[in-house]
């Protein structure tokens, strides 16, 4: 009906010969009504008065509605499919379920149907034999053709037609929509024919698509229905609305895209050339700014279709995914460690400092906790009393620098071992005015050793010389670098190294014996240390640490810190953990029960780590680095084998130290029982850090 152009004459098939004049003066609706009565044997008037409701509501009843007298229209008995097949007229029957009656198509109707199917006009008379109306003739008239004022009804859609079509559409299954529309377009002017066709469709003369039959009423929904509020929406619909991702907006056009852009947007000749030569993918913009005087001079945009297509293609092919923003709280990435406040006491502030007369290379704290020995550059060992750091004694052991010093681990003696030049010197500090009488007696006894003497030279690698009650010197073949006492206080191990190689020797003080048990490992030994309770020795070469069982004389383990150069080694008092400092800025914690790889690698320094030490009693360790800082950490070891060690960095000490960062701390020592840390370096300063606050 929408296609019904206002003003155009409505021509009925049956009166194709009717001319303009006739149509003008008659009501179209009346005309059609008359036609229907004429054509259709049965009246189009509804017998059923149920009104405008779906007939399926009566499905459960034996009647299908009420007639005009108010009586039930009893559902007629339908023929069985077999009867239908047997009926010779079955093919021309159409069932009107609303009125429960069967319509029999007349020959004329059948003719129309067959014409429709053949794609011809429905009216036989319209075909080819119309009289040619000479609407325009060669003869030029002076006056216009007589044309009376057109009535309004020609401009308004016919209500009658609308009612008719609506009625049809209502009862149609959805699949007929496509057919109906096409038919409507063609036969809009002949509603009667449409109704007939509808009836034909019902009769099964027009074949349904298979799919439509399958889904049936599923398709009969109102596509344009508006749902206003969300309450009516089902949950899935609501969810879909929530999850709907809108297409990304296209960027708005800029000045360059104007039809009359400012001059600065216009490309120069060279730019234009470059643009044209470039591959379409390489171009910065997909257009060239062009200037037009006026909008009407703007030609059609040549790539419009292509751009639209590409846009659609982009929208279609690019999967729109709601981007889940990864919300990670930075705090959560940090492992949960206890607060340093809970792990007190630990050293945090400088409590005292003292200046040594010459640069300090190594320090060691006496196990009784009163004297600190500092190995100095000028061949002296200086002794400082704690906590005032008063230099109580100094002793020139050698002409060369003392590179390492270590106190004998027995608390009642004041005996130390030091490395200087090619010698390991064991000195009795009591002879220099340290300690009590009792200390002096014990120290002398330790230094004197057993009365042997005959087999002194047997199996001796070093050359022993001694000064009564004062010192014992062991001359090695190479330059002594490192010395470590066994916890028993009788054995000590030394590392000697020069350009030709290195050797690890084990000395026995009481017997004045030296041995070199490790012929092979001497390649590049750096540091040596004894196990605090078992007969093990740890020898660190440049890149790995070997653990030997001295009793069985076998290699127990080889630890791989993955470092290039090991600088220091510290064994935990329990003996199961090892702290390895390296020159490549790493501090490795080994759990000997776990594996031969580090349990934890701590990278807390920017430069080489010189030394790292465990506290002998408290769960603390510290390391000092060339970057000028000392890091005090908590290292708790549990007796429970299943629980790994807890490592918490506590305090980075970098203030209050010397001005030259490199010289801030190169060596450190712990007090044996208190949380006190001593550091020293080549700047001659010795610092004592204690637990303040």
């Amino acid at each position: 009906m929408e296609g019904d152009e206002p003003g155009s004459p409505v021509v009925s098939d049956d009166e194709a010969d009717s001319d303009l004049e006739k149509v003008e003066f008659e009501e179209v609706g009346d005309e059609i009504d008359g036609l229907i009565e004429e054509d259709d044997s049965s009246s189009d008037e509804e017998k059923n008065t149920i009104g405008d409701i779906p007939i399926r509501w009566y499905d459960g009843y034996d009647h299908i509605g009420y007639n005009r007298e108010g009586k039930q229209i009893i559902r007629g008995k339908r023929k069985s499919p077999l009867e239908e097949i047997l009926d010779p007229n079955a093919w021309r029957r159409v069932y009107d379920e609303r009125n429960d009656e069967e319509l029999v198509l007349t020959d004329k109707e059948l003719d129309v149907v067959s014409r429709i199917r053949a794609g011809q006009y429905t009216g036989r008379t319209t075909e080819g034999d119309e009289e040619i109306v000479p609407w325009t003739s060669s003869k030029i008239e002076i006056h216009p053709l007589p044309e009376p004022t057109e009535p309004k009804r020609r401009f308004t859609p016919s209500k009658h037609e609308a009612a008719k079509v609506e009625k049809c559409i209502e009862s149609w299954p959805a699949y007929t929509w496509t057919v109906a529309f096409s038919l409507l377009l063609i036969f809009l002017r002949n509603v009667i024919q449409v109704v007939k066709i509808v009836r034909a469709i019902r009769a099964g003369l027009i074949v349904k698509p298979a799919k439509a039959e399958k889904y049936g009423n599923l398709y009969s929904f109102d596509v344009w229905e508006e749902k206003e509020d969300d309450e009516e929406k089902s949950k899935t619909e609501q969810a879909r609305d929530l999850m709907r991702i809108h297409a990304p907006k296209e960027p708005l056009p800029g000045h360059a895209e104007s039809y009359n852009p400012p001059a600065e947007y216009l490309p120069t000749e060279q730019e234009r050339k470059e643009w044209e030569e470039a591959e379409p993918e390489d171009r910065k913009t997909n257009f060239l700014p062009t200037k037009y005087d006026s909008l009407r001079k703007v030609p059609a945009y040549p790539t419009f279709i292509r751009e639209r297509f590409e846009r659609c293609l982009d929208l279609y092919t690019a999967v729109r995914v709601r981007k889940e923003k990864l919300r990670i709280n930075p705090e959560d990435l940090i492992p949960k460690l206890p607060s340093p406040e809970e792990l007190k006491p630990f050293p945090n502030y400088v409590s005292c400092s003292a200046t040594c007369k010459s640069p300090v290379l190594s320090i060691s704290m006496h196990p009784a906790g009163q004297f600190l020995a500092a190995a100095c550059d000028d061949g002296f060992v200086r002794f400082f009393e704690v906590p005032v750091l008063k230099c109580v004694a100094e002793w020139q052991l050698h002409e060369e620098a003392i590179v390492n010093v270590d106190w004998c681990p027995k608390p009642n003696v004041l005996v130390f071992a030091a490395c200087a030049g090619p010698s390991v010197i064991i000195g009795n500090a009591c002879s220099e005015g340290l300690g009590t009488e009792a200390n002096a007696i014990d120290s002398r006894a330790l230094l004197a050793g057993d009365e042997i003497g005959d087999n002194v030279s047997q199996g001796n690698e070093g050359e022993w010389t001694e000064e009564e009650d004062k010192s014992v010197e062991i001359k090695l073949k190479r330059r002594a670098r490192n010395v470590a006492w066994h916890h028993g206080g009788d054995y000590l191990a030394s590392v000697a190294r020069d350009t030709t190689g290195s050797s690890v020797a084990i000395h026995r003080l009481s017997k004045r014996q030296s041995q070199v048990p490790f012929k092979k490992s001497g390649a590049s030994a750096q540091v040596v240390s004894f196990h605090p309770s078992r007969p093990f020795i740890f020898i660190a070469s440049k890149q790995h640490i070997r653990v030997y069982n001295l009793q069985k004389q076998v290699l127990v383990k080889k630890l791989l810190p993955g470092a290039r150069w090991i600088s220091s080694l510290s064994v935990h008092p329990s003996g199961d953990h090892l702290l390895v400092a390296t020159y490549d800025m790493k501090l490795c914690w080994f759990d000997l029960d776990l594996s031969n790889l580090p349990y934890k690698i701590l990278r807390n320094h920017d430069e080489a780590i010189r030394e790292a030490r465990f506290h002998p009693k408290l769960p603390l360790f510290a390391d000092c680095s060339d970057d000028g800082t000392v890091l005090v950490s908590h290292g708790m070891v549990y007796n429970d084998l299943l629980q790994n060690a807890l490592i918490v960095p506590l305090k980075r000490i970098d203030k209050n130290l010397a001005e030259t960062p490199k010289l801030r701390a190169t060596t450190l020592a712990w007090h044996p029982s208190l949380p006190w840390l001593f550091t020293s370096s080549g700047d001659k300063k010795i610092y004592l850090f204690t637990n303040v606050n």
């Binding site: 502030y349 906590p387 008063k390 005015g433 300690g435 009590t436 009488e437 204690t690 303040v692």
Partner: protein, 418 residues
Amino acid sequence: MDGSSEVRVRFTTRLEDEKLGVGSGVELVVPGSVKRKGLNEIMIQILGLGEGDQANFEFLVHGALLRGELGKLCVQKGFSVEKTVEVEYSLRGKPVRAEEEAIDLDDWVCCVDSLKTEDGGCIFACGTYSGNLKIIEGGAVVSETRISERAVKSVNWTSRSRLVAAGADGFLRSFEVTKSFKLRQVLIGSCAGVEPFESTVSVGKDRIAGGTSTGSLVIFETSRESNELLSEIRNVKRPRASYEDVIRAVPSRVLEGHSLSVTSLAYDNDKLFSGSWDGTVIEWEAETAQRIRTIPTTMKAVTSVSVSSQLVAASCTDGALRILDFRADSSTPVVSVRRAHRAVANSTKWRPDHEHEVASTGSDSAVRVWDIRAKLGVMFKRTQAHGEDGRGLCLSWCGGSKLASGGSDGVLRVFTFV
């Protein structure tokens, strides 16, 4: 109540001077923002003093010296607005100035103890790191002896003519000082071979207590007859030939309580207090040698203790000065100054006859006298008393006006307060 509100005060005093005692009982309303100087002016007006008198008053509000605004102090103390605040006024001591006297000694001064003579003079006994024991009277060393190669760690007068010195070599030596200040070795108290002790000594009535570096205390009873001691000593192995002619004594008691080196001892009537590196102060019954109480000072090693009427001042390695009250139940310090010294606080001593004042010295080279009523406001201070990079190591009061301090510059400095 804040600084802008008013405070009702009633003045009291203990001054016996008739002229100055007039102000007692006077009630006034003063602004809360008034400070000591303001109250001082009010007081001068009340008393009607002329400008020539230049009276200077100190005000005590419930045991706290007024410093800053009165209103704020009242808020701190939690007084209600309606309450009349009792303010005790007393004459302010003149600004503490000290005349300084320096006596050169040869090495770091480890310990000092003073003895007041009958004529008001002071005799100081000093021990140095080089092992010398020196007697100083009238600003000069009158007598000295070298008692060992090790430092003299502690010295204490036992009577007018005797003193005890603890050496780092592990011996307690008792000396008799004759009139000519000639030192004569009379007794060596030792437990040689058993425990080395070296750190400290303190003298009580008929008793000498020594602390050892292993954490035990040894008590010697001086009242016992020397021949009795002799018989005891015959079985003891003698460590050194040079002391053979000297009577040796074994301790009558060994007290175990500390886990680390005992650094300081102090007798107070029948109580003995000991401070140790293990961070505790222990109160002992002197007679029975029973441990009464232990007060920990939060793992900070104690370097020195001093006792005055059950208040124990303890200096700690973190530079703090803690005042512990052994009569109270709680173990937290009554007052504590966190940073009394910027380095290790080495020594502390209560000022005799001044129950609120305590002196301290530390490795930051400063000597300070604190008043504990004003949250330890400094009464007197001498920074760098022992040189720029020095350490103050020991203190001793001689009477209430002389304070001797020894340090790393090898000088005994005597401050005389005027």
